[in-house]
């Protein structure tokens, strides 16, 4: 079908609908407002439900209810609202409920700013709420990738019975790029959604009673539950790492960057290569699980690494863990909604080689 020029936020919303999402619960916050706005328009057209909750806290708990009773469901927000959702995300992870949570990041901490940021990396990749858990985190670097990763997020969520975070920033949310949308399954049920016999849908005695729960008052039972969850996380970590490599084979310096910042890094790499500097890039597409293994492999040949982030240095911790002290890992970042400029990244490249 013909390409459409779509804003990132709207493309994510439409992709969710085409992934079979029929329930959306949200709350306004910049710079993600086009997602709930788009959903409020589209959901009634296709027999879905859009509901503006009284708070992010309520929205994530509506997600818990809808997911727990078997639906493909999504919510979206930005930093301050995502913080409020963390209680619910921990419950969702504990009760093993699939859903997709979109975070279009803005500058923090506190109320911060509404300009783009990647300051929620730690919050996203370390679970974010209380207790021992992780959730898959997908980081698109273009609008068309946001479309495909939204679909992937729903599939991962159902496959592993887990919340999945789609982590973009204000630029991904606001910019328009051409997208190829998947075919339009405007029927009520998702074609790819598996059956969910565990869901609370009304008990007629033909199966065990469905109880959606994260409470295990007996410590040994809770430890067994945690062990099972950790086994699941290990399975995700083994199977679901996604990343892209660009010009890494001959690279002296490898940049590690994700999301829109990887695009800025790509421009800097082109300029560096034009002046004879051998630079490549590993771009994590899943932030958790982090592509540690390919980075470790690259550390055998590259002389150094440089992470570029819109944060004070968060992903750099994971990069250093992956490199394991074998080679230096430098960091360049901007905060507060300031975006690294190509020329500044280029200057850091020149410093590092």
């Amino acid at each position: 079908m013909a390409k459409l020029l779509m804003k990132g936020n709207e493309a994510i919303a439409e992709s969710a609908i085409r992934s079979g999402c029929r329930f959306f619960f949200g709350y306004p916050i910049t710079p993600q407002n086009q997602i709930p706005e788009y959903m409020s328009k589209r959901m009634p057209q296709i027999g879905g439900t859009f509901l503006q909750a009284e708070s992010e806290v309520s929205a994530i708990n509506m997600v818990y209810g809808a997911s727990g009773s078997g639906a493909r469901v999504m919510t979206s927000s930005s930093g301050p609202g995502i913080s409020l959702k963390q209680e619910g995300i921990s419950y969702l992870a504990g009760a093993q409920l699939p859903c997709v949570i979109v975070n279009i990041m803005r500058g923090g901490p506190g109320l911060g700013s509404i300009q783009p940021s990647q300051g929620d990396y730690f919050q996203s990749t370390r679970g974010g709420g209380h207790g021992d858990y992780r959730v898959p985190v997908l980081a698109p670097s273009s609008v068309s990738e946001a479309v495909s990763l939204t679909q992937r997020a729903f599939d991962l969520a159902d496959q592993y019975r887990t919340p999945v975070i789609l982590l973009g920033d204000g630029m991904i949310g606001q910019m328009m790029e051409p997208v190829d949308l998947p075919d339009q399954p405007d029927q009520p049920a998702a074609p790819s959604a598996p059956s969910k016999p565990w869901a609370a849908t009304g008990w007629d005695g033909s199966r065990p009673r469905s109880i959606i729960n994260s409470l295990y008052i007996d410590p040994s039972a809770l430890e067994r539950h945690n062990t099972m969850l950790q086994d699941k996380f290990a399975e995700i970590a083994k199977n679901e790492v996604a990343y892209s490599s660009e010009h890494t084979d001959d690279a002296d310096l490898i940049i590690i960057a994700y999301g829109t910042v990887a695009r800025i890094a790509r421009s800097a790499i082109r300029a560096a290569r034009a002046s004879g500097i051998k630079v490549g890039m590993i771009r994590p597409i899943t932030l958790w699980p982090f592509p540690s293994e390919p980075i470790a492999r690259a550390a055998r040949t590259a002389k150094a690494f440089l992470t570029v982030e819109m944060s004070a240095g968060q992903m750099v911790d994971d990069a250093r863990l992956a490199v394991g002290g074998l080679k230096p890992v430098y960091f360049y970042g901007r905060t507060g909604g300031m975006v690294p400029a190509v020329r500044d990244v280029l200057a850091r490249i020149k410093e590092a080689v």
Binding site: M62, Y64, A66, G68, V73, G202, W203, S210
Partner: protein, 249 residues
């Protein structure tokens, strides 16, 4: 031999874990009887709170979700929007509903969510060991109001049924009590009415049930039942606060 008394089908065989003399058990039974009476056990989905009733999913023989503290009405909203044809109820205490979950209950009612809330008001936080609740009476001693609840410091207790009944989305709101057989029978009628209201699609329905907490009140079960009548009922008047269901006057 004929059976003259039996456990409702909508209760499991699990032994209730509530304290001796607590009226949660009676209220559980009333909810289960209402579900049985309406013949909707297989179509009912319940939401358990955080509080003494946190294990409600062990006791109601229906599909259940356990919610975060205060969030049961939001969880129930999610369930009901996915399954508009099912009967969805929340079972919440006064700390859960009237303190941390005030936003969720008010907005669920304001939206006219077609769910039923059973609100058990025993004027104290039971599970955490007897702290002051928003419903604790002025002068009542709790572990966080050791000199008695001070009106100057913490204001007066919240009367939830009165507030909820003011919202246009509320179709049925009643306050009942479980402190003696006569009132238990009235409570049963109100709970059944609330579920019928949901089935009829009129809007949000809630029954507030005054309940005892002998353990944390520091009373015998009999003293506790009497205290409901002498101290709680005067501040929390019983009655139907709103009834927009079909056939209501």
């Amino acid at each position: 031999m004929s059976i003259v008394f039996s456990k409702p089908l909508s209760l499991t065989d699990n032994v209730l874990t509530y304290c001796p003399g607590c009226t949660h058990g009676i209220i559980h039974r009333l909810v289960a009887e209402a579900i049985d009476d309406l013949g909707v056990q297989s179509q009912t989905i319940g939401v358990a709170p955080v509080g003494c009733a946190v294990f409600a999913y062990n006791f109601f023989a229906v599909d259940m979700l356990q919610a975060a503290h205060g969030r049961a009405p939001a969880v129930a909203t999610g369930v009901k929007r996915v399954h508009p044809d099912k009967i969805v109820f929340t079972y919440q205490g006064d700390g859960d509903l009237a303190s941390i979950g005030m936003a969720e209950i008010m907005h669920a009612a304001a939206r006219g969510e077609k769910i039923t809330t059973i609100f058990v008001n025993n004027a104290i936080y039971g599970m955490t060991g007897g702290q002051m609740a928003p419903t604790t009476l002025v002068g009542q001693v709790t572990t966080t109001s050791p000199y008695g609840r001070s009106e100057e410091l913490t204001g007066k207790p919240i009367r939830v049924s009165e507030i909820i009944s003011q919202l246009d989305g509320t179709a049925y709101a009643a306050r009942v009590s479980a402190h003696d057989p006569k009132h238990v029978m009235e409570a049963k009628k109100a709970i059944r009415k609330a579920f019928e209201t949901q089935r009829g699609g009129a809007g949000f329905s809630m029954v507030e049930v005054l309940s005892t907490c002998p353990t944390n009140w520091g009373m015998t079960p009999i003293e506790a039942l009497k205290w409901v009548a002498t101290d709680m009922v005067p501040y929390y008047p019983l009655g139907v606060y709103k009834d927009l269901s079909k056939g209501a006057a």
